[in-house]
């Protein structure tokens, strides 16, 4: 199962990040996880939020370039080597991981956000192997 991720193009200068966050907070969009990657001039803020579509709409109205895309939120055991094991499975199928970031860590398990080159194929692969991917509903239930 895939979940929606909200990405925002932001210029790399003082104050832009807080302006974007302000738009989201005003529209009641809450952030479950985020990753911020940057170059010298601009960055991409990638967010897992409770309501990506509202976030996207409000950001567009405020004049930001944003995008909703599909990612996988994968549950892996919180033990050494489990992430590597997962990656090996993906690599064997010739799927590329464009980027990934952590979502949360519980006592026994951890969650990572995956952006594979082919989200559907990866999702099927995980399902077959009994690897748990979260649904948008699961995300909403997560207490962070």
């Amino acid at each position: 199962m895939t979940c929606k991720q909200l990405s925002v193009f932001i210029e790399n200068r003082k104050g832009t990040l807080s302006k974007v966050l302000n738009v989201l907070s005003k529209s009641g969009v809450s952030i479950l996880s985020m990753s911020l990657a940057d170059t010298t001039e601009y960055g991409l803020l990638r967010l897992i939020v409770n309501d990506p579509d509202t976030g996207k709409k409000e950001l567009s109205n405020a004049g930001y370039s944003s995008l909703v895309s599909n990612v996988l939120v994968v549950k892996i055991p919180h033990v050494a080597g489990s992430l590597q094991e997962l990656l090996e499975k993906v690599e064997k199928e010739d799927i590329n991981i464009e980027y990934m970031y952590g979502l949360s860590i519980e006592n026994d398990d951890a969650y990572v956000v995956f952006k594979p080159s082919d989200a559907e194929k990866t999702s099927e692969l995980f399902e077959k192997d009994g690897i748990v991917t979260l649904t948008p509903e699961d995300l909403l239930k997560m207490k962070l």
Binding site: S7, F9, T39, E41, Y64, S65, L67, K115
Partner: protein, 432 residues
Amino acid sequence: MIWSEVETYSREKIEQIQLERLKETVKRVYEKVLPYRKKMDDAGVKPEDIKSLKDLSKLPFVTKQDLRDNYPFGLFAVPKEELVRIHASSGTTGKPTVVGYTQGDLDTWTECVSRIACMGGATKNDVSQICFGYGMFTGALGLHYGLENIGSTIVPSSTGNSEKQIMYMKDFETTLLVATPSYALRLAEIARSIGVDPTKDLKVKIALVGSELLTEAMREEIHKCWGEDVLVTSNYGMSELMGPGVSGECEYLDGMHINEDFFIPEIINSETGEVLPAGEQGELVITCIKKEGLPLIRYRTKDITRLIYEPCKCGRTFVRMENLSGRSDDMLKIRGVNVFPSQIEEVILSFNELGPHYEIVVEREGYLDKLTVKVELNVETDSFKELENIANSVKSKLRIVLGLDAKVTLVSPNTLQRFEGKAKRVKDLRSK
């Protein structure tokens, strides 16, 4: 529709009118405008030396500096009491340039703009919304009187309060828009932001744009925003010469017809001042031959163009000037290379991934000039690769067009400055 029969006169007849009016103007200016009389004396030329149109090249040039040196009324050919109107340029550097009109001048102006409005497709049935700033600037009142003269309904909405502008357009069913090219784009942007689609919800079918140069790419962009069936024509003028109405495009969009019974155009090499043969590109020089208040002779416009004498399909015989390729004083010299902002604009507008607004910054780093072009991102993406590809493609296209390396900076939509009057998109931060 062709407004005046004069616009279709034979070359012979036009030149006859020009020579007659030129002789009269030179004589009058020599008698009444002391600074120009001195210039003529210094050049050793007398009014009676003007026997043919060719003799025009014997006369000295007038520049913007002459207007400043004789601020405010020193170059006027009539006593102040005969003036009925004064306009002035914005004067961003030092004193403004002041121009004055007699009643006869205003009538000439109205005639000139009426012709240009008709060339651009205007009729008495149009509702003309004038989105030029009213005031000392000649643009708004110039178009106002011309469009009113042909019987169209004027909505003098001026600039600013853009949301209300859209409301007027919708409620008054505006069919003709007068604006700078960049403000035309801005208005479309505002319309969309309040849920009005200019191509469906508005009735604008004619756009008379001026006061900034109109590149073909900009024309296309206006079509994209306002609809493919809108007739977008550019018109040309400057307050020193009269205001708008010196020339304008007809529906064939192949150069702007100059009102030759009022203005004689020449093209010169802007460095040597030498007159260039017909068809060559250079600086446009204009002589006013029917002005009373401020009859400038051989005024150097600093605009770069070319004259086209071949007959036009529209039936008008007046010479056409090619749409401007830049102004000699807009030209940037970057690392020894001549760059016109319009060249950069053409490149930017050729990318769908970018918005039409941009900013050009020139700085000096050490001993080197550095050119940065800021552009607004017009795509939604989650990929650095795509962002880099866009910036690199713009960069390599700029390198081909300019022969220069530029830094391309992508910024968020709606963050660069918008302009209601003339756009000021170039920031030259090099100390002069």
